[in-house]
Symmetry: C2
Subunit: 336 residues, 2 copies
Amino acid sequence: MRNRIIHTISFAVSLCSILLFISCASSHIDPLPSWNEGRAKQAILQFVRDTTDSSSPKFVRPEQRIAAFDQDGTTWVEQPIYTQVVFALDQVKTAAEKDPKLAGAEPFKTVLLGDREAIAKLTLPDLEKILMVTHTGMTVEQFQATAKDWLAAAKHSRFNRPYTELVYQPMLEVMNLLRANGYKTYFVTGGGQDFVRAYSEKVYGIPVNQVVGSAVETKYGYAPDGKGILTKEPKVMLIDDKTGKPEGIHMVIGQRPIVAFGNSDGDQQMLEYTEGGDGPRMMLLVHHDDAVREYAYGPESKIGTFSDALMAEGKQRGWVVVSMKDDWKRIFAFDK
Amino acid sequence: MRNRIIHTISFAVSLCSILLFISCASSHIDPLPSWNEGRAKQAILQFVRDTTDSSSPKFVRPEQRIAAFDQDGTTWVEQPIYTQVVFALDQVKTAAEKDPKLAGAEPFKTVLLGDREAIAKLTLPDLEKILMVTHTGMTVEQFQATAKDWLAAAKHSRFNRPYTELVYQPMLEVMNLLRANGYKTYFVTGGGQDFVRAYSEKVYGIPVNQVVGSAVETKYGYAPDGKGILTKEPKVMLIDDKTGKPEGIHMVIGQRPIVAFGNSDGDQQMLEYTEGGDGPRMMLLVHHDDAVREYAYGPESKIGTFSDALMAEGKQRGWVVVSMKDDWKRIFAFDK
């Protein structure tokens, strides 16, 4: 009997050794294979190691591990025009079918005529009118169903692929790495909260309750069958951009993130707010400098403006500036 | 060698059997020991079983397992006056020290004089003034620190215990049961979101990012040291009560809960909204009918009004009405 126990223990120890070996070997698999070696990649890996190693002075308790990601331009393509704006322009037709008066009124008339040059010249107030007409007056469920249908069919003008494929593979890897290390990943987007919720789980693994975004008010009421419903109202509740980002973070997350990724002036305050808390922090800016594989733009761009002032602030504060050209081995999952 | 392997396997199988036995035995431990046997307890246990058993037609995928809890009167004592209002009244003194003009102005003068009868007669607009003065003009962190300090010292007038001990033990058990079964538990409270966040994790195991509540706007700015801060502004963003509850749910959670617990007319729309989705749903109302151990109140109460209309709606729709007197074996953790 004693022998048997010894044998059993020895067998168990061997088994444990094998498992330990597999576990160690697997930890040598690069969690960021689409990143080139360099300062940005090292900064991310080091930060995750430091904040999750309980013997490190930089250890952060799991409930504080909150990472905030901007969406447009940080985790997917935002050029030459925000995806959601393309969606809104496409939805004008549907809106005009419901309300024929729209067809004769500007800016809807211009959109319906399909004159690209005239559409490109639409002003911000024009755009707001279009967003209100196409994003309100339906239940939240109806809106999301419409967004899902559109995303399943629409394709990007340059890449000729669904928008949901124009996702930055290196950023998906960062999200997965963070989640595997006990981080909660949130979107904090200037885009519409309900629009992003239509695909955030499927495309990024971010559940609907971890999406902070621009939002209109909703109104509670009853469907004809008596069921409680929420209708999207043409009244802005939150513009989740610039100073609105920390405000949205407080409303939905209720604590400062310790990691924040952005790519434009709209993310400045979110990064500052993230930096302003105690303990270890990591702030990163994605810089679009790869016209060949994606786009190159900066201070001059109306979409995703990355001003010289933001670049200077980032450098002065020690934020990580990610060069898409130099730091990313591949940009999309479909890149070779 | 062959024998040794057989011995090892047989030993391993025995070990597994023992572990399995322990596991099965532990599943016979009552997860709701503070509940008396009855319809309410059975309804909760049955619902959790049905929605988590993958072979049940009522199975619900984990990402849909969202449970919403009202706070005041549903998970802790709300009589004879909301805890947060007691806090606000106590904070008037601090506010008057900062701004001495307040001491001479109503309704602050009445509060500072401490005349209970006069305080009880304060109107809703008076109360709003008091809430604004005591809940805004500081950073979100300063406010939470103040709330935590107050909660650590303040005691309930009848029970002479900290408010954070006046928590309903049966509800803690339900929250734990749900979480152990893959549910995310949220507060959806008419109380202040930032106030409840000050203790939700410690007292209920609900993290700050799972608290929906009434909220004022916040304003982004900079502390003297240049750090980004958010200041609470005297402008209401959301009154998370009645129709505001589904609206707050949509803003923060982004999906319909499938379980909702309330105790008053303020929860009606939240329960209806929860009921309005597809698939299995469970709606419950806590009825305060135990004047001996807690309080008995209903349609006549200004705090936690439970109208006859709500009772009729609940019965007609098959909502579970929990009698504190009959369904709860004990109310507080300190009850014998």
